[in-house]
Symmetry: C2
Subunit: 327 residues, 2 copies
């Protein structure tokens, strides 16, 4: 039973996981959808009520019924490196590859449809509320008067993009920024704007969930930190990421979140306030984890390898095309 | 409780449904995502564990908690008609609109994530097999030798696109065509190819599913029809669409399909062979129904209006971000 990893050739984070899979003798096949139809190939046959599928990549051929899990890491655009790339070929290749894999019965990290839904930040905020996670007061709006009223109730605000990243090649993250007092909100009418109560934080928390394993890391905010440096990704880094225990009630809420979201992997970002409350900022279903593992020594890549490589039964309901909550 | 219809201004099929909703006094709001952020606006607030959302379109303002259902008809590209359109604005607007609506608790026709999965033809074929529908022998492949072997086993084949439609503006359908004997399959290596055993058909069947209502129409193939005219959409039309009873076993399989696919609406295409067997060709989750209603007089738009307008409880699990099979 093989693990399929959908990612590009240069992906050191995937390499970290592959090392563990190799060490435990689990067969791995790596396929970049961009290599369809050059060095990667696919085939699926539906005859007499049965299905037989095959994938080939880097000279190796595997049966789809022999896939125990699929890790959607950093797949390229399907057929992007084909001899004659086109939007049509990309669409045909995407539908073929993901359509065949959706029906093959392997466990997904993450299921593509669940992942698509989980990327929506408004849905994340609502789902976090329902899961019992503390969510900072947030407004997403194109109404200037709604923005003004919100800023009166919550004068200390940050602004951030709704979708998270600029749709560019390579994608560029937009930092979260403080909203200056007396800001004119007229321009809100020209594009949805996400305003959120700023958490006066004493630490950033990254909680990585793999199956039912929770691994949290904490990065203390230096006492002399500039309060305008809201976004940990762009702030000067004086303190390290360190492992931290997950409070039991929060762990329960996080498990409720990933079960409801049907995710096998999620990278949660929290802001810890002066009372020690962890405020939900987002859950990135494809979030990076290499930097946390390197700084904390937490066995994230090993845990992912164990989840992917676990023999266990394939999902019967998945084979049936039905979704089931990820165990 | 209002029905939200996501579609463009000119959509006579939507108009047919709106007539019925108006007649029964159900409030309707029509919104084209392309009108964000010009004549359409949105707002959603997450405060103290609760959510309040609003939409405005054509000068009307509705609360999202007052939406009983959302009909995803023919929505435009978000923010396409904004004063300064951009890929970034489209992404922000799409995430905002569909993210807020995903968490608002209304019933969907169709749920966007279920719809995304249901568009994959390979997944459709596998799901149809599992649901007990007869599926013609089909191969999707980039291996020329697999295509050759398949053509030896099934000499009478048709070829059609995997993704269904050319990714163009306006989208252009590619007709299903017969494969000539002795075809050279070398070019299969350059793009996924869908080959399917040709059903020598005596009729085309269009089965429209709305909730738990099944409405089937049949178009007899004229005795003197050219067997090269495989695709009913492009064949000369000598015979009309006429209502037809759905065989009970097939009805059961179709219900299993839509329940498993979590669809509230689906347009199934079948080919009826000389034995009367209905062979599954595809299920289009956004398929047109106007032409069938006009020719057969079947109350499809009325049934859709009834589904959308039904007071019934909102989906508790949907509000929770969880999917539930469509009743």
């Amino acid at each position: 039973m093989t693990v399929l990893i959908l990612t590009g050739e240069e992906d050191v984070t995937a390499d970290m996981v592959v090392v563990h899979l190799n060490a435990s003798g689990v067969p791995v096949i790596r396929l970049d959808p961009a290599d369809l139809t050059a060095s990667a190939a696919l085939s699926g046959e539906f005859v007499h009520g049965a299905f037989r599928g095959h994938l080939s990549s880097g000279g190796r051929l595997v049966s789809m019924s022999g896939l125990r899990s699929v890790w959607v890491r950093r797949p390229g655009t399907p057929a992007a490196r084909a001899p004659q790339p086109s939007a049509w070929l990309t669409e045909e290749s995407a539908q073929s590859l993901y359509g065949l894999l959706r029906g093959c019965g392997a466990r997904w990290m993450n299921d593509p449809d669940a992942a698509g839904r989980a990327r929506h930040k408004p849905w994340q905020l609502r789902h976090a509320q329902h899961s019992g996670l503390p969510v900072p007061a947030t407004l997403i709006t194109t109404f200037p008067r709604a923005a003004r009223a919100f800023a009166e109730r919550f004068p200390d605000l940050v602004v951030k993009p709704v979708s998270g990243a600029h749709p560019q090649e390579p994608p560029r993250a937009v930092p979260t920024s403080r909203v200056a007092p007396g800001t004119d909100f007229d321009a809100v009418a020209y594009g949805p704007t996400l305003l959120q109560r700023r958490i006066a934080k004493r630490a950033d928390v990254r909680l990585t969930v793999v199956g039912d394993t929770l691994l949290a890391a904490r990065k203390a905010t230096p006492a002399d930190a500039d309060p305008d440096h809201v976004d940990v990704r762009f702030a000067p880094s004086g303190t390290p990421w360190e492992p931290v225990e997950v409070p039991p009630r929060l762990a329960e809420a996080v498990r409720s979140y990933v079960t409801g979201a049907e995710l096998a992997y999620g990278a949660f970002d929290f802001a810890e306030d002066a009372d020690g409350t962890w405020w939900f900022l987002e859950c990135n279903q494809s979030g990076q984890f290499g930097f946390v593992e390197v700084e904390t020594g937490q066995p994230i890549s090993l845990t992912i390898a164990q989840w992917l490589g676990r023999p266990g039964p394939r999902e019967p309901d998945h084979a049936d095309g039905r979704r089931v909550p990820v165990p």
